[in-house]
C-alpha cells in the first residue's frame, strides 16, 4: 500500500494546474498496480478544483485503485458530496466510499 501525504504539496492546495502538477511530480514514485491512500493530515485547505484534478489523474493512472483516508478537514468534507454527484467515474466511486467511512 502506498500513501500520498498531501501536505508535501503545501498547506493550501488550489487550482487545477497545481493539482495536475502535483500528480505529475509524484507519478514516478507510484506503482500503478498498487493501491494508493490519500492522507489529508496537516493541510488547511484543498479546493475542489485541485482535488478533482488530482483524483482524476490518479484514478486514470491506476484504474481507480485509490482510498481517501478518513479526515476532519472541513474543505475536503465540503467538496466530497459535490464531486460524488457531479462525476460518474472512478472519482465518484472512491469519493462515495470515503463518505461512507467519514
Amino acid at each position: 500500500m502506498q500513501t500520498i501525504h498531501l501536505n508535501k504539496f503545501g498547506n493550501v492546495l488550489v487550482s487545477r494546474p497545481a493539482g495536475l502538477e502535483a500528480f505529475n511530480a509524484i507519478r514516478p514514485q507510484l506503482d500503478p498496480n498498487e493501491t494508493v491512500q490519500i492522507d489529508f493530515s496537516d493541510v488547511l485547505t484543498v479546493t475542489p478544483s485541485w482535488l478533482d484534478e488530482f483524483l482524476t489523474q490518479l484514478t486514470d493512472f491506476n484504474n481507480g485503485n485509490v482510498i481517501l483516508l478518513p479526515t476532519q478537514n472541513a474543505s475536503v468534507l465540503a467538496a466530497l458530496p459535490v464531486l460524488a454527484e457531479a462525476r460518474q467515474d472512478h472519482v465518484a466511486t472512491i469519493v462515495k466510499q470515503a463518505m461512507k467511512q467519514q
Binding site: 488550489v14 479546493t47 478533482d52 457531479a86
Partner: protein, 240 residues
C-alpha cells in the same frame, strides 16, 4: 515624537472619529496603538492609512472603471502564482485570527481560492484590458474582497451554452449546475462547493458580474437579483 508616531488626538482627526471611539476600538482590538517608553499611545501612519482604506470601494473601482485604476501593489495579483502564494499566507493569518476556528479558516480559504482561481482560469489569454485580480483582506473588519476586469460570467458560459442571454441566467447556471466555460474539460464543480459552504456557515457573501448579483447570507438560501450598475468582470465581497 517621530513623524510616523501619531498621538491619539491627531489619529482621531485623520480617521474622522473621536478619541473615545479610538479608545473603544482599542479595547475591542479593532485598532490597537503602540506605546512609547513613557506609555503614551501612538499610531503609525501606515496603520492609520491601512485602516482608513476602504477595500470594498477600491475593489469596486477596479471592476467598474472604464480605465483600470492604480492599485496598491499589495492588493494586485497580476498572475495566478502570486494569488496562490498570498492565499496560503491568508490561510495562516486566518488560523491566528480571534474567533476563527480551524474549520472556518479552511472553508473561507476554499471560497477565496475558488473565486480567485476562476478569474485566472476563465480569462487566460482573453483579458479585455488589465490582467489579474484585485485581492485584499482586512481581518480587523473581517472582510475579504476580490475583483477582476475579465469577460464576466455570461461571456464565459455563452461559449458553451450560447442560449444564455442574461447575467442573472448566467449566474444561476454558474452557481447551480455543473458546467464549465472550459468544456470539454471535466470541471465546473467549484462554485457549487462554494455555495454549499456558504449556505451552511456564518459567512456573508456577495458576488457580482454584469448586472447580476448573487447574495448568500447566514442561514439563508442563495438569492440572485439585479444590481443597479454594471461590473466588467466579477466582484466579490466575503464578510465573516
Amino acid at each position: 515624537m517621530n513623524e510616523d508616531k501619531i498621538r491619539i488626538g491627531e489619529a482621531a482627526k485623520i480617521l474622522g472619529v473621536t478619541t473615545q471611539t479610538l479608545r473603544n476600538w482599542e479595547r475591542s482590538g479593532k485598532i490597537v496603538p503602540e506605546r512609547s517608553v513613557g506609555k503614551q499611545r501612538y499610531y503609525s501612519l501606515e496603520t492609520l492609512n491601512k485602516f482608513a482604506l476602504d477595500i470594498q470601494k477600491l475593489g469596486l473601482a477596479w471592476s467598474i472603471s472604464a480605465i483600470p485604476p492604480d492599485l496598491p501593489s499589495e492588493y494586485y495579483c497580476e498572475r495566478a502564482d502570486r494569488f496562490t502564494s498570498r492565499l496560503s499566507k491568508m490561510g495562516e493569518i486566518l488560523l491566528r485570527t480571534e474567533n476563527v476556528s480551524q474549520d472556518l479558516a479552511s472553508l473561507i480559504t476554499l471560497v477565496v481560492g475558488e473565486i480567485g482561481d476562476n478569474s485566472f482560469a476563465h480569462n487566460i489569454g482573453n483579458w479585455p484590458d488589465a490582467t489579474g485580480i484585485f485581492y485584499a483582506y482586512d481581518f480587523t473588519k473581517r472582510i475579504i474582497v476580490l475583483a477582476d476586469r475579465g469577460r464576466g460570467i455570461k461571456a464565459t458560459l455563452q461559449q458553451i451554452r450560447p442560449s444564455i442571454s442574461t447575467d442573472l441566467e448566467a449566474l444561476t447556471v454558474a452557481f447551480t449546475e455543473v458546467i464549465s466555460g472550459r468544456n470539454p474539460e471535466k470541471r465546473g464543480n467549484g462554485l457549487k462547493v462554494v455555495r454549499r459552504v456558504l449556505e451552511s456557515n456564518e459567512i456573508n457573501f456577495i458576488f457580482r458580474s454584469g448586472i447580476g448579483l448573487v447574495s448568500i447570507f447566514p442561514s439563508k438560501k442563495m438569492e440572485i437579483t439585479m444590481a443597479d450598475n454594471n461590473i466588467r468582470g466579477t466582484y466579490c465581497v466575503i464578510i465573516f
